[in-house]
Symmetry: C2
Subunit: 269 residues, 2 copies
């Protein structure tokens, strides 16, 4: 790797060396001497699903030790950061889930997105001083904290090895994801919103090695509603309707998907 690559797709970013387990242990071995963590990421159970880790090549992985200072545990309902908090770190979810939201004038809240293991939180405050949104754990959640000071040092030290590029990639993905959410919200059809929401969740669980057809929602109906621009009652009603039609089974927070194709049909129109 020669120079910072501003423009590169994820395929080419995944060097073979990153996928080679021996390369990883080599890099972690060389990381000795960094105070906070001697074996960066190597002990992390969520390593393979971590967006940051997946983007790293062996070269820059070596530097991760300087950045990943600590792991943080959150219980259900605890905040990772709040609106107007000073931005201090990026956070990668190791296990559990979180919602990012902000408070509207009326006191109600707008859920921007839900995040799962491997997802990165806090990008929206990387370039500005304060967080403009709040992040709250929806269940027992552990996150990997990457302090901005450490990130800054790492970026300067190894600016040639493309750390910035990883950040740009994360930013772009976040922007695109936001655009898709806009599309989702603007769809007039409530059935389509719910169908798309379920399909997206299903895909995300599958990507993380869990069942695509049986999973637990970590968010309340009202949070789903806030995210999709629907009233709680509508969310509830449509979930019930989908169940009555045999597409899914919902019991409290547990969801089973029986007819993925039918869901996709609802999503399509």
């Amino acid at each position: 790797m020669t120079a910072s690559r501003l423009n590169m797709n994820s395929e080419s970013a995944r060097d073979d060396t990153t996928r080679d387990p021996s390369a990883i242990s080599r890099s972690t071995a060389e990381a000795e001497g960094f105070p906070n963590l001697t074996k960066p990421c190597s002990g992390c159970l969520s390593r393979e699903r971590c967006r940051v880790f997946r983007l790293m090549t062996a070269d820059s992985c070596r530097q991760a030790a300087a950045m990943v200072s600590r792991s943080q545990q959150l219980t259900h309902g605890e905040h990772l950061f709040r609106e107007n908090d000073r931005a201090e770190a990026l956070y990668v979810i190791k296990s559990g889930s979180a919602k990012v939201y902000f408070t509207l004038e009326g006191g109600s809240e707008q859920v921007v997105a839900f995040y799962m293991p491997g997802d990165v939180l806090g990008l929206d405050a990387l370039g500005v001083e304060l967080h403009s949104s709040s992040a709250l754990a929806l269940e027992s959640t552990s996150v990997c904290v990457i302090p901005l000071t450490g990130l800054q040092e790492a970026c300067v030290k190894i600016s040639a090895s493309g750390w910035h590029h990883y950040l740009y990639q994360m930013f772009s993905r976040e922007l695109i994801s936001g655009h898709r959410t806009m599309e989702l919200i603007t769809r007039k059809d409530a059935e389509a919103k719910i169908a798309i929401f379920l399909i997206k969740l299903s895909r995300q669980f599958k990507e993380r090695g869990y069942s695509a057809s049986s999973f637990n929602l970590s968010m309340k109906r009202s949070e789903i509603g806030s995210h999709l621009g629907l009233a709680v009652e509508t969310v509830s009603r449509i979930l019930t309707r989908f169940q009555e039609d045999g597409l899914i089974r919902v019991e409290r927070r547990h969801v089973q998907i029986f007819d993925h194709n039918a869901l996709q049909a609802w999503a399509g129109d």
Copy 2:
């Protein structure tokens, strides 16, 4: 300026030297020798409203010459880039306006945002290979093209002077702006959407030195509708209603705002 600052608000980013005209000419004089443009930005009429320029300190301003390779003219309806185009540059609008949108399955389009002079387009593709959206000029528009290759070189050469920081700042602002748009779309009230839209436009014109109470819309009603999640007819109806109530006067694309407070009242609820 010592090191890359990942976290800094816009106030501190605006060094006094940036605001000092003599410092600007000094830096542009030093830029001699760069092939493409001997006086970077100094001849640009939109310099003061350019988000990129405003973020630059005198130090990094000197490097702009290497990056700003050319100015590009677009006529009404011309594309700056399209979905799935290879990402090649960032674009700063010098004059005119543009919409960023993407096409939905049904063939309809989702307008992500409108952009005015000084705004930066193309960030969503900086970290990935392809544009996920299209950008189209809504009128005669001139843009400043910053090729990614040049940007890349500049970032490597002067990584210590904070160019990356400017990009992060732009990214964060873009993300936050997207979140606000989500809020706008989720508001159920069509009147509020239009009122907020008008107030935002008014503010943007004012920021750029134009009248806040009399301006021309560069977008069609249908584009406003697509952006706000409303049918064309609803946009038209509400504009008419606002006019009947004496809040505004709309004639084709020309808008006059008579009662800003009343608009704000509609926006609030």
